[in-house]
Symmetry: C2
Subunit: 147 residues, 2 copies
DNA sequence: GCTTGTGTAACTATTATAGTTACATTACGA
DNA sequence: TCGTAATGTAACTATAATAGTTACACAAGC
C-alpha cells in the first residue's frame, strides 16, 4: 500500500510554478512537465487553491504561488492534497469481539502508537520547505549544465 | 489512503497468543476475537510464521509466539505483514518529462525526503514492543475489573 | 483411517487512484 | 458583444489492493 502520488505531483507542480514564475503556467503546460492529463493537474491545483497555496481562477490562464516558497512546507502540501486523513494513516479493524479481553482493549492500546508514528512522519515533512526542493533542483541543474 | 488493517490485526493476534498462551489458539478461535473470517487469520499467521514470529504447523491446532513478547517490536510485525514495501510508503509519479528541468530532477529531489519521513515513522514503531501492548491490555483489564 | 485444523487457490464486493472525454462557466481581447 | 481559451467538474473507464468467503488439498494425531 502506497500513498497517493498526488502528493509527489503537487510538489512537482508547485516547484514548477516557482521555477517558471515568469511564464504562464496553464494546466496543459504543467501536465506536459508532469507527463499526465491536464485534468489531473486541475484537480490538484483545485485542492492547492482551496488550501490557499496557489492562485488559480476560472477563465484566467495560469496559476501562481500564493505564498513565498520559504513559507510552504511539505506538510502544508501533504495536507492540502488530502493524502491521509487526520490520524488515519494506519487503519484498525473495527468491531473486534467485545467479549474478549483482547478484543475490547486492542483499539485503545494501539491507537496512541499509530498516532505517534504518523505524527513522527508528518513532523519530518514539516521540516522541509518547498524552497529546499526548488533549491535542490536549481543546483542540480546548474552543476549538470556546467559539466 | 490508509495502511492495511493487516497490521492492526497482526498485533491483535500476537497479543492474544501471549494473553492466552495456556490455551489452544486455532485460527477459528482467533477469528472470533478479531471478528473476521478464519482464513484472514491464517493468511496473517502465515506471514508471521515466515517472519519467524510465530509457530504454526499444518495439521496441528493452534499457534504460539516464537519469541519473547519483549523481543518483538511493532516494526517487526509491520515488516512481517508487508504493510509497506521498502521506501515505498510514498509513491512518486513515474515518467516526468525529461525535457523539463523540473521533470528530470523532481524524483531525485523528493526521494530523500520521502525516505526520511518513512524512516521516522518506522523508527517510532521500532521503539514499541509487543509487551508494551500486552501490558497495556492487562492493566486496563485489571482496573476495569476492580471498578 | 477418521477427524480436525492449517495452507492456499479462486472468486466476489468494495474502495481508491489515475486517466480520459465532455461540457458548462468564466475572463478577456478583438 | 462575440469568440477564443482556459478553468471547474461530472461522469465514465481501467487498474489495483483489500477483506471476506467458499472450497478443497494436505498434514497430524488419536
Amino acid at each position: 500500500m502506497t500513498i497517493s502520488s498526488r502528493f509527489a505531483v503537487a510538489i512537482h507542480v508547485l516547484s514548477l510554478l516557482e521555477l517558471n514564475k515568469e511564464g504562464v503556467n496553464t494546466s496543459e503546460y504543467i501536465a506536459d512537465s508532469v507527463n499526465t492529463n491536464p485534468v489531473v493537474i486541475r484537480r490538484i491545483l483545485g485542492m492547492l487553491n482551496k488550501a490557499g497555496l496557489v492562485q488559480v481562477r476560472p477563465g484566467v490562464a495560469g496559476s501562481k504561488l500564493n505564498r513565498l516558497v520559504t513559507e510552504i512546507t511539505l506538510l502544508d502540501i501533504y495536507r492540502a492534497v488530502q493524502v491521509v486523513e487526520e490520524d488515519a494513516l494506519f487503519s484498525v479493524h473495527d468491531k473486534p469481539n467485545p467479549h474478549c479481553p483482547v478484543g475490547r482493549n486492542i483499539q485503545a492500546s494501539i491507537e496512541p502508537v499509530f498516532s505517534a508514528a504518523q505524527t513522527a512522519m508528518e513532523h519530518t515533512l514539516e521540516l522541509v520547505k518547498l524552497s529546499d526542493i526548488v533549491d535542490n533542483i536549481r543546483t542540480t541543474e546548474a552543476s549538470c549544465g556546467s559539466s
